[in-house]
């Protein structure tokens, strides 16, 4: 059992789920409640990572975040670290890949909140922020929780992008999925089997969690 790889995966999954929360709430509300011309395009852009092969994303990240790219160089000047072959780079990749998993369940939750309810809150003297914190977020909570669980679980299983931009560095980019791959290629079946079983159990728990939360989601 590669505990280092497991802990790295758990860190990556937690960081992804938490960092995605604020922008996803904002995007989900925007898509749920506003009717403007660019909406369809924005929705499509958010859904893209669902259908794009991870290799496409990995390739663009190698080009866009690499040491030869303006972004990669700016990041290195700021932090002294590189984006490619580093945990930070994996995090950037994870955030992009998981955006649809975070936005979609929230969007359904927010869309189910009747507009009259929000208007009632406003005329009762609640500010926009108070309405968000006291009315909207509590009502949309099942969707938010499902989004957290989904993006967490999905990051645990992330493989393609990590294989393209990671480099299998122990403690840095060797996630549990990559460790399983490496062990399987090296014919260390016992190690690969143990880690696979653990990941299977973890994913199963996560899926049950998501579906239980999903059941409390309002149907449109």
């Amino acid at each position: 059992m590669d505990w280092q790889a497991l802990s790295l995966s758990l860190q990556l999954a937690s960081a992804t789920a938490l960092l995605l929360l604020p922008p996803s709430v904002w995007l989900a509300r925007l898509l749920a409640w506003s009717a403007w011309r660019g909406r369809a395009a924005l929705e499509a852009a958010i859904l893209l990572p669902l259908v794009l092969p991870p290799t496409v994303l990995g390739y663009y990240l190698l080009l866009g975040l690499g040491g030869a790219s303006p972004l990669g160089q700016a990041y290195q000047a700021l932090t002294g670290r590189m984006l490619v072959f580093s945990f930070d780079g994996l995090l950037v990749a994870s955030l992009i890949v998981n955006l649809p998993f975070a936005v979609q369940p929230m969007q359904r939750s927010f869309a189910a909140i009747p507009r009259e309810l929000r208007e009632a809150a406003w005329v009762s003297g609640l500010s926009r922020w108070q309405t968000l914190l006291r009315i909207e977020l509590p009502l949309a909570w099942p969707g938010i929780a499902a989004a957290l669980a989904l993006s967490f679980a999905h990051t645990l299983g992330e493989f393609g992008v990590v294989l393209m931009v990671g480099g299998s560095l122990p403690g840095e980019t060797r996630t549990i999925a990559i460790a399983i791959y490496d062990q399987a290629q090296a014919f260390n079946d016992a190690a690969a089997a143990g880690m696979s079983a653990l990941l299977l159990a973890l994913s199963f728990v996560a899926v049950i969690l998501v579906s239980r939360l999903g059941r409390s989601l309002p149907r449109r």
Partner: protein, 260 residues
Amino acid sequence: MMPGRRRHWPLLSLLLLSLLPLSGRAAAVNVAAAADLKFALSEIAASYEREHGTRIILSFGSSGHFARQIPQGAPYELFLSADEEYIFQLARQGLLRDRGRLYAIGRLALLLPRGSPVAADGELRGLASALAAGKLQRLAIANPEHAPYGRAARAALERAGLWQPLQGRLVFGENVAQAAQFALSGSAQGGLVAWSLARSPELATRSVAALIPGDWHPPLRQRMALTQRAGAEAQRFYDYLQQPSARTVFERHGFALPTD
């Protein structure tokens, strides 16, 4: 709100298109080959196709990866490994016709992107001084756990006394071709990869390379064998690979030729 029926046409036509059979299947041979053969074997296969009209379908990847797939029923008729151990292993499992033939001896090279702070020196003195000067952030090699060239790179770095100092700076490619891609990605200062990849025109224009002494690592004895699935066409291509014309191509791409 029911969407109009016309909306479904694009999707339907895509589905129908996907049912069309692929182009007429001429005779074809499925070949699994180590990643370091990318350029040499592609050239040999192209000339074979011209001469015999048989399609050679090449899949390149890590030898260890194919050694995992073949027992699972992967449809390869011929396997060119970068490490003869994988061939012996599969032969013991009764998956191959015989223990095959040595076809090439691989060589390891230091591959540097243009403008790298590392000096191109096969005995790795330039690498050592760049590391000491703090100019080396990342060095790419193939994964030593399952890629033959990764094991060779590890041995060469140990021989140069650099394996320990480089810990935390090594990036592992899944196979030697990915290691080469990492080395030239602009995010690493170089890598230890197959000489056969380093000297290919595709890479040579973007990089400099230096050959690492052959006795710095266990020899990369590359062996090939026909699987139990092999047909007559595969047998013919296998024989062709042992002809002087094919051996010359291997040699031109930087492989040493086996004498045993």
